[in-house]
Amino acid sequence: MRARLRAGEPAAFAELFDSYARGVYHHAFRLTADWSTAEDVMATTFMEAWRLRHRIDSEGGSLRPWLLGIATNTARNQYRSNRSYRRAALATAAAELNVPDHAEEVTEQIDDQRELAVALRALASLRRPEREVIALCVGEGLDYEAAAKALGIPVGTVASRLSRARRKLRSLADAELARPSGPPAAVTGDGRSPAPRPTRAGPAQRPERSRGRREAGDAGRQIPGDRIDTVRPAQEGNR
């Protein structure tokens, strides 16, 4: 596959597209907060992949991290500032919630829309670099190393950005929970959420242990790492 892509074989690019367009689109949406911009970013990503095909190593695993890296760069070019992102996120969130109250509308669908709006507001509360790592690691399930490679930053930086982002999201979610039935909490004008408290055992403090670990992709799945905190002392004691 890699050799065929390097050689510029159109059929190989069609396969690449079929395999990863969906994921790239999801990722692009998280980074642009706009459906049609996400589509453009997705399309551009694959055209970029074609242009950059000579950079594909003949050896290696999945090309997904590489594509997601290109998509991240492309999405970055869409908005000059984080303020533009916030504007887009709030507009998309508002559009999601602004659905006429049809009786036949399925409750589930309304819930989906409400939850999407919450997620967008949450993403808008992050700084761009935080949003990028959270989209790569949590959204698309890349491990820290792959995300680091995709972004061209050290693994430790991925870990620390991720931990900061998570804390922000958590505190935001708490704020949402405090007002369950009303409209979700709006992001403050400057997009900042309450500063997280420094912690002792957060992932930021042990980036080396995070290598190769994968984030949970779905809510229902068991979270890798949620046991480690309790098990680790014993393991280390045995070494």
């Binding site: 159109p10 059929a11 190989a12 958590r170 408290r197 055992a201 949970a216």
Partner: protein
């Protein structure tokens, strides 16, 4: 804050994952295919530029639309696997475009002698014959079917090494609806799958294609003026700024309208009459179509590229056989390799008919 939230860990992992899982929504129906087609068109165009095609503009027009891979890549892969070993190249991946067609050395021919004399007379005879081909009018729901054979020579560029290569002679079958929005194409120089591919597609911007001189539909052709003067004026007007010279572009445009279309006889007649009024049009005493049929040709030399486009007619019946493009003067720059006598493109029209559905082939008449 509660103890649960002050301590980072499971709660935060979960929260982030839960939030993000809500943002995964799929593309609206059809958009995936749309973008894949755009990507394929993009790649194809990039490759064509890379090939330093001796005739980027013309190649596109002769080959008509290449709407990319419409079938799942898997199907194409399976098909390719089946076909391996039957003189087809398969995916050797050296970027020379079509994957199911053998390539070979440049095609060559003997260059026929050109003369400015007798063009008017020949085109008169040709248009008289064309006027007699009074086929039924195409109705909605029907399709124009055209079967031809074609081959071409192209400049291949592999890692900077430039050489001439050709696509072997192959059959091309095309179906078009009257308004040109629906169709099917089977052409191994273009398709990835032996089944061919649909032409019923929106263009790159997602718009339904609008017919024009460079991409005419049957309906469009049927509405063109049949007065040669008015027709020619329209052609000059609408191709202004295109091609290497206005006269050459007008001639080429008429050639394209003749090649893969089945317009009402009155228009075919008008096209030939109009061509007779273009300066620089000559007769060629001997020319061969793609399937080896010899005849006489109406031709015009493109002074810029050194290519001569020839419309070939049967010497006695004056029936249109096909057309080809021959290098008669040495090419320049990237086209230096293309020596005089090289056949850049050749085709032979084997059958034109009206059928009731795509992929339907009429009983052969003749």
């Amino acid at each position: 804050m509660s103890a649960n939230t002050s301590r980072p860990g499971p709660g935060e992992w979960e929260e982030a994952a839960r939030l993000l899982s809500r943002t995964a929504r799929d593309l609206p129906p059809g958009r995936h295919e749309h973008h894949r087609e755009r990507l394929m068109a993009h790649i194809e165009q990039a490759q064509r530029t890379q090939e330093i095609s001796p005739r980027p503009e013309k190649a596109r027009r002769f080959r008509l639309v290449r709407p990319a891979i419409a079938l799942p890549a898997l199907a194409a892969a399976v098909a390719a696997a089946v076909i391996v070993g039957t003189a087809l190249t398969g995916g050797d991946g050296n970027g020379d475009g079509p994957r199911r067609l053998a390539t070979g050395p440049a095609l060559t021919t003997r260059i026929g002698a050109a003369s400015p004399n007798g063009v008017g007379r020949l085109l008169d005879q040709v248009s008289l014959v064309a006027a007699k081909d009074d086929h039924p009018v195409l109705k909605a729901g029907q399709y124009v079917y055209i079967e031809s054979k074609a081959a071409d020579t192209f400049v291949k560029n592999v890692d900077g090494r430039v050489s001439l290569a050709s696509h072997a002679l192959h059959r091309r079958q095309v179906w078009y609806s009257p308004d040109g929005t629906k169709g099917w194409l089977i052409d191994p120089a273009v398709n990835d799958s032996p089944e061919g591919e649909t032409l019923s597609l929106p263009d790159e911007q997602g718009n339904t294609p609008v017919a024009g001189l460079n991409h005419p539909s049957y309906d469009y052709l049927a509405k063109l003026p049949t007065d040669p003067g008015a027709l020619l004026a329209k052609i000059y007007d609408e191709t202004r700024g295109q091609g290497n010279s206005p006269d050459q572009e007008a001639f080429t445009t008429i050639g394209d309208l003749l090649g893969e279309s089945y317009p009402p006889a009155a228009l075919t007649k008008a096209l030939f009459k109009a061509a007779a009024r273009i300066p620089g049009v000559v007769t060629v005493n001997d020319a061969v179509d793609a399937v080896g049929r010899h005849g006489v040709a109406v031709a015009r030399l493109d002074e810029t590229s050194g290519e001569r486009e020839e419309w070939i007619f049967d010497r006695t019946t004056h029936v249109f056989l096909g057309q080809r493009s021959v290098q008669v003067k040495r090419g320049r720059g990237a086209e230096e390799l293309v020596k005089p006598g090289t056949v850049l493109f050749t085709s032979a029209v084997l059958q034109r008919a009206i059928v009731d559905d795509v992929k339907q082939v009429p009983a052969r008449t003749s």
